[in-house]
């Protein structure tokens, strides 16, 4: 029994953290932009939180808040930057942002450079992750039903119409990007205090694409989608014991098949009624 617990605890913690970041990406994507920068945003949160607790002895809760604030401000600015671009260019710009952040982290010696920032204290526990996940799920649920949520979906479905209806597109897009980025950064702080190292490779393209797959596989139209996607795609490969390399081959094929056959994702608004 304890063997099973020892096997399941890390899997469940990873699944919980992935779900949190995927929900952040979900909120960002609810207003339209396809973000390939959320791994970088989570990584920035992780770096800041880790530096604050390790080098400055801040309490964990304050480090989380600082990480979320950094994520929010960065996300807000990124949202403002891409608001006038078409979705494709916006997607590639977030990709460029993510890769640039990884290159910068790689070159700052203070945070470990290529060797990653290590010596982070263990603060993240299983109950904590799931308590946070519950809060984020509540936020995502209320967000879906909120004025902002409706405005975001209207912006995604037709920016011109939304604008004509009096929705401030610039504000909606950058605010949802900021909120989503703050949640991703929160996930990043939790992850850094669980795996105890924070390296530049956690910020790169593949990690971001992993989160994107969680959302697209599960469905990006209702908040159960990313939760389902992140949980399934994190836990199943562990239970089935795929190696990390095989997992990406399957991820890639799965992503292609999903988007060809069911671009709306497995869980849609209609299937929740």
């Amino acid at each position: 029994m304890s063997d099973l617990a020892a096997f399941l605890t890390p899997v469940l913690i990873t699944a919980g953290i992935n779900s949190i970041i995927a929900l952040g990406l979900y909120i960002t994507m609810s207003s339209g932009p396809l973000s390939v920068a959320h791994a970088a945003l989570a990584g920035m949160g992780g770096y800041l939180g880790a530096v604050l607790t390790t080098n400055f002895g801040w309490p964990f809760s304050l480090a989380i808040l600082a990480g979320m604030l950094l994520g929010f401000v960065t996300g807000l600015l990124l949202g403002l930057l891409i608001v006038r671009m078409n979705e494709l260019v916006a997607g590639l710009t977030t990709l460029g942002f993510g890769e640039t952040m990884a290159v910068i982290a790689f070159n700052i010696d203070y945070i470990g450079g290529a060797n990653a920032f290590s010596g982070i204290p263990l603060r993240t526990t299983l109950p904590l992750v799931y308590a946070v996940l519950a809060v984020i799920l509540f936020v995502a649920w209320r967000y879906d039903e909120s004025r902002l949520g409706y405005a975001a979906r209207a912006t995604r479905d037709s920016p011109v119409t939304a604008d004509a209806m009096g929705i401030n597109i610039t504000w909606v897009k950058s605010l949802t990007f900021g909120i989503g980025a703050a949640i991703a950064a929160l996930g990043g702080v939790l992850r850094a205090h669980y795996i105890l190292v924070q390296g530049p490779e956690d910020m790169g393209f593949f990690v971001s694409v992993g989160f994107l797959i969680f959302v697209i596989f599960g469905g990006s139209y209702v908040f159960w989608g990313p939760l389902f996607g992140a949980m399934t795609l994190t836990i199943l490969p562990e239970v089935l014991r795929f190696s990390a390399k095989d997992r990406f081959i399957i991820y890639g094929v799965l992503l292609t098949i999903m988007v060809i056959l069911r671009p709306q994702g497995l869980i849609t608004r209609r299937s929740m009624r």
Binding site: L34, L81, R84, M85, N86, E87, L88, V89, G91, L92, T93, L95, G96, F97, E99, T100, V103, I104, F106, N107, F205, F206, V209, L212, I216, K245, D246, F248, I249, I250, Y251, G252, V253, L254, L255, T256, I257, V259, I260, P263
Partner: protein
């Protein structure tokens, strides 16, 4: 000043390869409105094709080049059939994600087959360098540059002066009208992906020979740079993409020469963000999505 000239020369040499990769990518986008995220993997397939050729078949430069290009074209046609044809003409993000998936699968498949570490490609061009006044250039750099120039001129000739090239431009401009005038749009699409894969494959062989290695994840950074070239130049004119490719190479070489080579890969994205904020359609104009 000597350093400046030397770095400009190095930049032009490497930039010509960026331009070749970017041209194929931009050609596929303008003809099919498909952002082919698997394009960098054609490049990677070319480099591994060169590796397999040198290891098992021949070390003749022409043979290695032909082998790499054919491997890349084969991969390209399979990807076209499985992931591009089913989603062509759909909303632009759908092919973007579908081909991203294929690209990720191909990278990890290559990692599975050839291992996680780069494999060494033996030198197929005898090492030699030539000095012209203050600057010097290696024979390998010249071969790379020559391959790129031939491909660029060839593509320009094909697009401007041949029957199929005219058909390609017609499809890029108005697919329905082109079809009404008897152009086989499906065939043109397949041909375009095939040509873009051949070019990416040749660039992969060049880079593989230049750095004497091939790696499962080598495509990503070249792919990102070619996206940057296409977006900065806009995809309406092949010449624009060529110019921006060369300029990016020079800019990167100057950054590595005067600042630090680790910042080299961030240059492209800095340029991208600055240009897109002021000219969202690129410097020379784009087809609309």
């Amino acid at each position: 000043m000597d350093l400046f000239l030397q770095q400009v020369l190095n930049g032009v040499m490497i930039g010509s390869t960026y331009a070749v990769v970017a041209l194929g990518f931009s050609l596929v986008f303008s003809v099919m409105r498909v952002v082919n995220m698997a394009h960098p993997e054609f490049f990677m397939a070319g480099a591994f094709g060169a590796y397999v050729m040198t290891r098992y078949v021949t070390t003749n430069v022409a043979g290695v080049l032909a082998g790499g290009m054919l491997v890349a074209a084969a991969v390209g046609l399979v990807v076209e059939r499985l992931a591009i044809r089913p989603v062509r003409g759909r909303y632009v993000m759908i092919p973007f994600i579908a081909t991203s998936g294929v690209g990720i699968a191909l990278q990890h498949l290559a990692e599975r087959v050839f291992g996680s570490d780069p494999v060494a490609i033996p030198a197929v061009v005898p090492a030699a360098s030539y000095t012209f006044g203050p600057v010097s250039v290696t024979r390998m750099q010249l071969v790379t540059f020559a391959i790129a120039v031939v491909l660029m001129l060839g593509l320009r000739y094909y697009v401007r002066n041949t029957k199929w090239g005219r058909a390609t431009r017609a499809v890029a401009e108005r697919p329905e009208v082109a079809a009404a005038f008897g152009v086989d749009v499906d065939f043109v699409s397949r041909l375009t992906v095939g040509i873009s894969a051949l070019m990416a494959g040749a660039a992969g062989v060049s880079i593989g020979m230049l750095y004497t290695s091939a790696w499962a994840f080598m495509g990503l950074i070249y792919g990102l740079k070619s996206f940057v070239c296409m977006l900065v130049a806009g995809n309406r004119h092949v010449e624009g993409v060529m110019v921006v490719g060369l300029m990016l190479g020079v800019l990167e070489a100057l950054v590595s020469g005067y600042l630090t080579s680790t910042l080299r890969d961030a240059v492209a994205f800095g340029v991208l963000v600055v240009v897109l904020v002021f000219k969202p359609n690129g410097l020379f104009g784009s087809y609309s999505v």
